[in-house]
């Protein structure tokens, strides 16, 4: 036995854990400190070691999810944002990977109306990139299976996208911003008026992250497939607004779109 029993109230395990978590996550160490031996170092300082590690682990996870945002704002400001985000959105899992899910929204709250308003959109792109990189693997499309279906029956098929496919649209040239900030070289200046992004991003069969720029009609077509619509309905979605011709697209060519996304490995199966 190491210790003499004390006459003080002995907290239950659950009470003790609540006090310690309040000290570590809430910055209120008093209740926990009363439960801890000093031994030459104040209980608050001892608890602060754990609080520092918990915060550092959380921020490290955010850095690994948002490397381009960190490069854009610098390590110090990123750490400041991450700290604020941590307080608002503490981890709810023993796996830190999902902890940064709402970071894009947080950046929009911070900078949605100022000259850094693109940050939230770059963060949203980086989260989709994370999802793409961690998504399930899938073998290449077995085209012989599709050849057994008569083209006139395609309308009833539900084409399946590769699990890593994500669709991204933004007001700013976020893919260009991201690419510039993932190189070792000094990033070049980017004109925010370069235009909006519409891209399909995915992990190719060889594991590389790939981007495919989309017309508005292709985006509508893919969003319909993503939602699980039949091919016929997706083609209608793709062609829906072409009549207005105010979006700069040529008429939607469904056969060409299908071929493009099968060749890209984005469409991998059908039901």
């Amino acid at each position: 036995m190491l210790y003499e029993p004390t006459p003080k109230h002995m907290p239950s395990l659950r009470e003790l854990q609540r006090c310690v978590m309040q000290a570590i996550q809430g910055g209120e160490p008093d209740a926990a400190a009363a439960c801890i031996e000093a031994q030459g170092i104040s209980p608050a300082a001892r608890l602060a070691v754990y609080a520092g590690t918990a915060r550092a682990n959380f921020i490290a996870s955010l850095v690994s999810s948002y490397p381009a945002v960190q490069r854009l704002v610098g390590e110090d400001y990123f750490a400041q944002c991450a700290h604020g985000f941590h307080r608002r959105h503490p981890s709810l899992s023993g796996d830190l990977q999902p902890a940064g899910r709402e970071f894009a929204h947080y950046l929009v709250e911070l900078h949605g109306d100022d000259q850094y308003r693109y940050l939230g959109e770059v963060a949203r792109l980086e989260w989709l990139i994370q999802e793409a990189l961690l998504a399930a693997d899938h073998p290449a499309f077995d085209l012989s299976k599709l050849r057994e279906v008569a083209p006139e029956d395609y309308d009833e098929l539900r084409f399946q996208l590769h699990p890593s496919v994500r669709l991204f649209a933004s007001s700013y040239p976020c893919v260009h911003i991201w690419q510039e900030n993932m190189n070792d070289a000094e990033p070049e200046a980017i004109d925010l008026a370069e235009g909006p992004d519409r891209v399909l991003l995915m992990r190719s069969l060889d594991g590389q992250l790939t981007f495919h720029r989309l017309s508005r009609s292709e985006e509508r077509f893919l969003r319909a497939l993503y939602a699980g619509e039949r091919f016929g309905a997706a083609v209608e979605a793709g062609a829906a607004h072409d009549a207005g011709a105010d979006d700069g697209d040529d008429a939607f060519d469904a056969a060409a779109a299908l071929q493009r996304f099968v060749v890209a490995g984005a469409i991998v199966d059908f039901q």
């Binding site: 030459g40 170092i41 796996d95 594991g207």
Partner: protein, 291 residues
């Protein structure tokens, strides 16, 4: 799951030194099969449905024995066990077929909030019963024995009634788990709290010890005193190598891991530490008293 390796070589970890597998070394390890006798991977780092890291570990596993080491189950928490997390662990076991699976004698969550750090338990009868029950539940769920690792600590609770080694030995006896004895963590805790690390080793039943961890630590000045911090960012210190020699004498040769998690050095630095562990073990075995 597609791509799952169904016929991986099975068998125990060799009683030699292995190294902690970290993502920056994936490609080099794939290009140098057999460079280390075995690898240990953090279970949560391979929770993804697919992708490059999962594929890399599958290929590395095909050529090497593997141990999976978790940090996120929060075994000592008084919250309910997280079934989602447990299911991911079970999937990792099914995918990678590790020779050993380990977790920590600690807690990290309460009321659904996670600190994502290894927080020490109070060494009480209540905590001993609680964490032992949870470990038994995990073993039942996974259908296998798990190993429990002693953690570094920077505080002691006033309500503790047992010595840490009594608590660890009691948990092993009550839950049926094995022990992953981290000698650096023993050293860090012993220095921070003023107990004798050798007394710790003497209190552990050799039959329970299935794996040993070795790592480096740092020193932080706090309140005019010095606290040792378990950073896993430095070479193993001489005092911990001495403990390793003593552990081999007491427990016999065990799979021994070189852990390095921050400021990760070149693979060859880790391999050199593993070679040093192997040499020390061989020497300690040669000088051990016959049983």
């Amino acid at each position: 799951m597609r791509g799952e390796l169904l016929s991986l070589p099975r068998g125990p970890l060799p009683a030699q030194a292995g190294i902690g597998l970290r993502a920056p070394h994936h490609l080099e390890v794939l290009g140098r099969p057999g460079a280390a006798a075995w690898f240990e991977a953090h279970t949560e780092n391979y929770f993804a449905d697919g992708g490059a890291h999962v594929q890399a570990l599958m290929r590395i596993r095909a050529d090497h024995p593997l141990s999976l080491h978790g940090v996120g189950l929060s075994l000592g928490s008084t919250d309910a066990l997280c079934r989602t997390h447990l299911a991911r662990v079970r999937r990792a076991v099914s995918r990678f077929q590790p020779a050993l699976l380990s977790e920590h004698l600690s807690w990290s969550s309460i009321d659904g909030l996670f600190a994502n750090d290894l927080l020490p338990l109070p060494y009480t009868e209540e905590a001993l019963r609680h964490v032992s029950t949870r470990i038994a539940q995990v073993q039942d769920f996974l259908g296998m024995q798990i190993l429990i690792e002693n953690v570094s600590s920077y505080l002691q609770y006033r309500c503790s009634r047992l010595a840490e080694w009594e608590f660890l030995a009691g948990v092993a006896a009550e839950s049926g788990c094995g022990i992953l004895l981290d000698l650096n963590n023993i050293y860090v805790a012993a220095q921070n709290h003023g107990f004798d690390a050798w007394r710790y080793l003497d209190a552990i039943d050799p039959r329970d010890v299935k794996e040993i961890h070795l790592a480096g630590h740092s020193r932080a000045p706090i309140d005019g005193r010095e606290l040792l911090i378990d950073t896993h960012g430095a070479p193993v210190c001489d005092a911990v190598w001495d403990l390793y020699r003593g552990a081999v004498s007491r427990f016999g040769a065990r799979p021994t891991l070189i852990e390095w998690d921050t400021d990760i050095p070149a693979l060859d630095v880790l391999l050199a530490e593993a070679a040093k562990a192997d040499a020390l073990r061989t020497d300690a075995e040669a000088h051990a008293q016959p049983a």
